[in-house]
């Protein structure tokens, strides 16, 4: 029953002033145990805000982040799952599934969280799950202006992860749910 928030690409203050009000009202401290932030916050205030939501905050560096000390990749383990975090601008072509799968194999993880495209995506393939939480503020991306604010909440429970997707469509919050189960088999030899 571990709640993990995947969020990113806020681009505050350059491309967006703040999170949408409805998102902000939902994100209250005390409920979420971990936060995985893909990057491009961009300023320290956003970092502090996220820190207030949960003490365990992981951030990777996006190309517009003002804090240069964030790492490029990050891996951590929650419950039975190994998670990986990367901004995604390093992986060319941007948003390409095979390339991302390569990164996943490279990091040896079950769940890979990346961003940069500002589009929500959730792929399941053989090795695991690749999740793109999109942009929480709906900031325009290098590729498109038509962006819906979105983020992802993962409920990790044993060998099962339930992915809740929160999207702000036409001013209303829409929630979707995807179930993933990890097959409790082949642990990698290395």
């Amino acid at each position: 029953m571990v709640l993990v928030l995947a969020i990113g690409d806020l681009h505050i203050p350059h491309r967006a002033p703040d999170l949408p009000a409805k998102f902000k009202s939902m994100l209250v401290p005390g409920k979420i145990q971990h936060i995985l932030c893909t990057g491009n916050l961009c300023i320290k205030e956003v970092h502090d805000y996220l820190k207030s939501l949960s003490p365990d905050l992981h951030i990777t560096r996006g190309e517009y982040d003002e804090d240069v000390r964030y790492p490029e990749n990050k891996t951590l383990s929650i419950g039975q799952f190994k998670l990986g975090l990367c901004h995604g601008h390093q992986i060319v072509p941007w948003g390409d599934l095979d390339s991302l799968a390569m990164l996943q194999r490279q990091l040896d993880i079950d769940i890979l969280v990346t961003g940069h495209t500002h589009q929500f995506k959730a792929y399941k393939h053989e090795g695991g799950v690749i999740i793109n939480p999109g942009s929480a503020t709906g900031a325009y991306s290098s590729m498109t202006y038509d962006v819906n604010p979105s983020f992802v909440l993962m409920d990790i429970d044993g060998l099962r992860v339930v992915v809740y997707v929160y999207e702000l469509i036409d001013g209303e919050v829409k929630v979707d749910k995807i179930d993933f189960k990890k097959t409790a088999t082949t642990q990698s030899a290395h």
Binding site: S25, L27, L153, Y164, Y166, D179
Partner: protein, 811 residues
């Protein structure tokens, strides 16, 4: 037998299951049927039902609070997502449940650290946590409040104790309780079979054991056990009604039983006192106060009836009852007493019925006092307050007072506390009915209040008048003077026309009716001084000598007010004393002035002369530096004052003042309670003793003045004999002040007074000489010098005494 409806002192018939607290409490709480004819099987069936209810509750609620997993038919995701704000969503409930769990865990970690061996084991903690959470989920309107765990802990503890007892009994009577069918001992005729079967078993274990077919065992069958053990057997038998689920003393279902007990305790089982109401801020239906506030004011109300001075003191300090009573009431004194003492209290508490003993159409003051159980709760609180009485009265600020209250002494005398509480319980029940009820009841009510601090003469009250609260001196004193007062009342003389002496006294002490006003102005002053006096008295235990100085310091403040330029011999007395020694006269006049000031202070409840005399005896005692405890004990009655019949009362004071001073002295020295059942002694004796006392006081005052403890002590010892001669006199005079005396008799008495004074003086002189001789012979230089000084002064005082006696004789 079922518990008695009104707890009596020792005449209760032996209650059923009296040594199995867990079972008895379940009966008292209403879970198990309390009728004496209920068989064990009935009890088992009821128990089984309660356990089933709990089990189903547990299943339902615990499942409910985990978010839906697979196979859910498309729940509305906008509601049922983890971040949902909706409190009714599954996730919302999950989070609130987690929050409750956190609060409960926090409290449980601090539960009874001194019994951590039991309460802090993981199984016990888990069990307590589940019970509390389930109760809170079942009663969402209350939620979890700190303190509920303290109510649960003793319940679980007594269940555990019962089980331990069961295990012991089982060990004792192993064969009876033994559930194994293999090892049955057959009769002698089957010895061979026995032998063989035993042999086989021995093979299995591989050990050759010398088997003993006549193995010593109780060999008792169930029917042969003593009744108590038999009862335990039936209560724990797995094969009785309802099988395992019906076993009343069961470890497996301890959680179920504890939950049931908690539930009944909190809900009150349709009774009046529901503990849950104490945790809720919701206002009660009849009053506009939360129940716990109402209960706190109920106990203050009871206190005001029982002991007005303490109540007034607390109110004056600004100590609201709920400051301390909140903790006391919410956990039923769980934080004030150690667990074992608490169990005794709860025994009493639970054995009182929870049903209202007031008809529905009768108006009442406090809801909590409507039932015996609630009254006991309030009565116990008052009993605890009375236990701390002297130290509470000594406190000067609200914070110190609360500190004292919230740190109840470690090992109080439980028996006395509880007996006092039981006696007050009746009073609480009676006083609850408002005066708009039947006339008879209201009269009784008024009587109780008007009597003020003297406890009313209700049926239960005589007990309290001889109650056994620890402060023995104070109690004895009070009793002594209470009897005093009663006898005085009996002797039925409201006014005494005792001629000259009275006038003398009144004039001397400026007690004429017209003159009461000047004293009024001193009230505030006097109050503070009284308080200071009380404070002094309380510190007496620590430093006896210093108190002399202190008391003397305070006295001069009053001297100017009271010195009167009268023209009788007593004033000569005063003048002479002023010429001789400032302090002495201040002592005496200060004596009376303090008496006056307290007499005129605004407290107008209670009509106890006894208390005034006590007060004066306090002052005198303090001057004399005699027994400290008595002064401490006396300080309370000081606050009691009456305003009626000023002169007579005041006269009474003075004379009684002195009488009782001496009486006190005697007690101090000989530690004997004066038997104040006096005979009717002729008036002459009164007068004779009067100056005699003056002189004693004087002499003692001198002793104080010089700071010569040793010589004074010497005096006190040596003059004990003299005191004792006056003993009977002062006792009788103390009581019979009001006997009418003709003028002629007064003359006679004065003459005889003079004579006695002379005699006493002679005695003192001999004492002096003896002391002098002693001090001369002793090597102790400081003593010598002091002795010399003291004696010199005392001798001059004696000369004055002679003069006075001559004057008296002339008259």
């Amino acid at each position: 037998m079922s518990s008695a409806s009104v707890p009596e002192a020792s005449s209760t018939p032996q209650k059923r299951f009296s040594n199995l607290r867990g079972v008895r409490w379940r009966v008292d709480l209403g879970i198990l049927p309390s009728s004496p004819s209920a068989s064990i099987d009935d009890l088992r069936r009821v128990t089984a039902d309660t356990r089933r209810r709990y089990a189903s509750l547990r299943r339902r609620l615990l499942m409910d609070h985990h978010p839906p997993k697979d196979g859910d038919a498309s729940p509305d995701l906008t509601v049922d997502n983890p971040l949902s704000q909706n409190p009714h969503s599954t996730w919302g409930r999950f989070f609130s449940y987690a929050e409750l769990g956190r609060m409960v865990d926090q409290d449980l970690s601090r539960l009874y650290p001194e019994h951590s061996g039991y309460f802090h084991t993981p199984t016990c903690q888990a069990m307590l946590r589940r019970i509390l959470l389930l109760w809170c989920l079942q009663h969402p309107e209350y939620g979890y409040r700190q303190g509920m765990h303290e109510l649960l802990a003793p319940l679980v503890y007594v269940l555990r104790v019962d089980l331990d007892h069961l295990i012991e009994v089982q060990k004792l009577h192993e064969d009876c309780f033994n559930d194994e069918f293999d090892g049955i001992i057959l009769s002698e005729s089957d010895m061979i079979f026995n032998y063989r079967s035993r042999r086989i078993r021995n093979w299995d274990s591989g050990i050759e054991i010398e088997n003993n077919p006549y193995k010593v065992s109780n060999g008792l069958s169930v029917g042969e056990l003593d009744p108590h053990t038999r009862e335990i057997f039936l209560l724990s038998d797995s094969y009785g009604a309802e099988g395992e689920l019906g076993v009343i003393l069961s470890e497996r279902f301890m959680e179920h039983d504890a939950y049931c007990m908690l539930d009944y305790l909190m809900d009150g089982a349709q009774g009046v006192l529901a503990m849950a109401s104490f945790f809720s801020p919701v206002v009660g239906s009849s009053t506009n106060l939360p129940p716990v506030i109402e209960a706190s004011s109920a106990l203050y109300h009871l206190l005001s009836i029982v002991d007005h001075s303490l109540h007034a003191h607390l109110v004056e300090l600004g100590v609201e009852p709920q400051y301390f009573a909140l903790r006391w009431l919410r956990v039923l004194y769980g934080r004030e007493f150690c667990l074992d003492d608490l169990l005794v209290i709860w025994d009493e508490l639970l054995s009182s019925k929870n049903s209202s003993c007031i008809d529905s159409d009768v108006e009442y003051n406090f809801k909590v006092l409507c039932c015996p159980r609630g009254s006991f709760v309030a009565a116990l609180a008052v009993s605890m307050l009375l236990y701390l009485r002297s130290s509470l009265l000594a406190t000067e600020t609200a914070t110190t007072c609360l500190q004292r209250l919230l740190n109840f002494p470690q090992n109080p005398d439980m028996k006395k506390l509880i007996e006092k509480a039981k006696s007050l319980q009746m009073l609480a029940l009676e006083s609850n009915i408002t005066s708009s009820s039947t006339q008879r009841l209201s009269d009784k009510n008024k009587l109780t209040i008007s009597r003020g601090c003297s406890l009313p003469s209700g049926s239960a009250m005589p007990k309290t008048s001889v109650s056994v609260i620890p402060d023995s001196y104070w109690e004895e004193k009070w009793r002594v003077l209470h009897e005093d007062e009663e006898l005085r009342k009996q002797s039925n003389s409201e006014s005494s026309s005792s001629g000259i002496m009275k006038k003398i006294l009144t004039r001397k002490l400026s007690l004429s009716r017209t003159k009461s006003e000047p004293l009024e102005g001193k009230n505030a002053h006097s109050q503070s001084s009284v308080r200071r006096r009380l404070f002094d008295d309380s510190s007496k235990d620590i430093v006896a000598e210093r108190d002399h100085v202190k008391s003397e310091c305070y006295v001069p403040a009053f001297v100017p007010d009271n010195l009167n330029a009268g023209k009788n011999f007593t004033e000569k007395l005063v003048d002479q004393r002023t010429s001789d020694c400032m302090v002495e006269e201040t002592l005496l006049s200060g004596d009376s002035s303090l008496v006056l000031s307290t007499a005129t202070s605004p407290h107008d409840i209670g009509n106890d002369h006894g208390y005034e005399s006590e007060k004066s005896s306090v002052t005198s005692n303090s001057f004399l530096g005699d027994n400290d405890e008595e002064t401490l004990s006396m300080e309370d009655p000081c606050n009691q004052n009456n305003q009626d019949e000023e002169t007579i009362n005041m006269e009474e004071h003075c004379s009684q003042n002195l009488d009782n001073q001496l009486a006190q002295d005697v007690e101090a020295v000989s530690s004997v309670v004066i038997d104040t059942v006096p005979e009717q002694v002729a008036a002459p004796k009164d007068r004779k003793s009067f100056p005699g006392k003056f002189q004693w006081i004087w002499k003692f005052g001198r002793g104080c003045d010089e700071g010569n403890q040793k010589s004074q002590a010497g005096y006190t010892k040596k003059d004990c004999c003299n005191i004792s001669t006056c003993d009977a006199i002062c006792n009788s005079s103390g009581v019979n002040k009001r006997t009418e005396v003709g003028d002629k008799k007064v003359m006679d008495t004065l003459r005889s007074l003079g004579q006695s004074m002379l005699e006493n003086i002679q005695v003192i002189e001999t004492v002096f000489q003896q002391d002098k001789g002693k001090s001369d012979s002793s090597d102790n230089v400081p003593n010598n010098s002091l002795g010399g000084k003291g004696q010199g002064a005392a001798i001059t005082a004696l000369k004055e005494l002679r003069k006075i006696s001559n004057l008296l004789q002339e008259m």
